[in-house]
Subunit: 268 residues, 2 copies
Amino acid sequence: MDQVDFLNGKTRVFGIVGDPIEQVRSPEMVTWEMHQRGMNAVLVPLHVRAADFDEVMPSLLRLHNLDGLIFTIPFKAKALAYAQALGPQATQVGAINALARHPQGHWVGEIFDGLGCVEGLRRRGVSLRGKRVLLLGLGGAGAAIAAAVAGEQPSCLHMFDLQAERCERMAEVVARISPATHIVTAPPDVQGMDVLLNATPVGMLGDARLPLAVTRLPPEMLVFDAIVKPEETPLLALAEACGCTVVRGREMMRGQIAKVVDYFIRPS
Amino acid sequence: MDQVDFLNGKTRVFGIVGDPIEQVRSPEMVTWEMHQRGMNAVLVPLHVRAADFDEVMPSLLRLHNLDGLIFTIPFKAKALAYAQALGPQATQVGAINALARHPQGHWVGEIFDGLGCVEGLRRRGVSLRGKRVLLLGLGGAGAAIAAAVAGEQPSCLHMFDLQAERCERMAEVVARISPATHIVTAPPDVQGMDVLLNATPVGMLGDARLPLAVTRLPPEMLVFDAIVKPEETPLLALAEACGCTVVRGREMMRGQIAKVVDYFIRPS
């Protein structure tokens, strides 16, 4: 037959909105996940120029067969304004990376970066409950990871970012979510920590640096790096050399995609 | 790999805009044709409510990785306003069914219904040059077919539509395009005709009627029906019973898709 089997007039359309757009991985990965769930749906890249965002968004949301959007750089904070209701993570973090059309017709928003990290760890059999966690970087993804980790009730959450106001702000958020967690905001120290999470960009795309000043890591430590490219960052290379358990950015991405598709299917 | 192979961040996006949208066949057929040409591209259904068209269109055209749109009911006439330049068919017919992003950045429009019909016939080895052609129906598709048939310089073009002003208007258009063609606008008569083209909706979706009052057709006649569903219309059934050569709506659609993808690749 002179036709493809993954598109037709009944296909529900989803999009990832970003500027630039060519580097995104959601089209191939989210579409795969939706097909695994039996959905007649595709997620396409939508390159919206930053200056056009507020003009284009209302029209996209008016497309009658468009059921959800994912947002990437630089739109995670601005997209919040288009959600008529927010999930608990988005409320805490003040940003969204997914909008879904609620069965009642309005748009609901949530952020899944942090939930994806927790889901990626859960899939490796790792629970953060009662653990001592060191989190580096509290930008967009890091803030979401802090909120999601807090939801798992670690015994201690040590957060560090070069911008002190980010540490203060997230300390308040974490205290609200998990009052029993001991919160530390100070320069990083791996001593006594069970889990190290890197949410800084240090180590990305050929950057040979480590996100903290260490020459070795305790072998019983679990080390996660949110960076997707390269798959093997300098931090993960050191962790492996030291015998640590390693969890990669791709596993967070897979966890996040599963959670986003759950949300697209049952927006709440 | 946990990903599909037909979508990524570099995929160029095309859409078909209509209301309703579920019945369209372009997503699977145009995407197939684009993949055959080696393009990293998909054509997705875009359900724009008729009342939203003029609000949504400027935003769609601002999507930086969207390179073309196809228009179906009820937008072929309204879409004309969004083309900064028109192809020759669109200029004559006053409607477009495709908009393409020109390399210089502006949008150009053309209508391919008629060109698709001529291409469908050409692929069956049929030339209309010097032929006597009877065309029934001068609505959107019919008018486009009249203009495209005129471009082939038939010796005679007999057109009929229940709305007399459509006949008058298309008689003028055909005279401009092919001054040597003998034009007839009168109730249809198959006598002496080489080719019968049905562009009326009579015979669609279980309608048991014929688009003209005949009980048989000359066996040397070529009979084409623009209707796609059902594939076998009452007219085509009669034509086959009478030994005529039969060309189906699907062949026009294939011809049209080839022409539209040519246009998307090299907008002019």
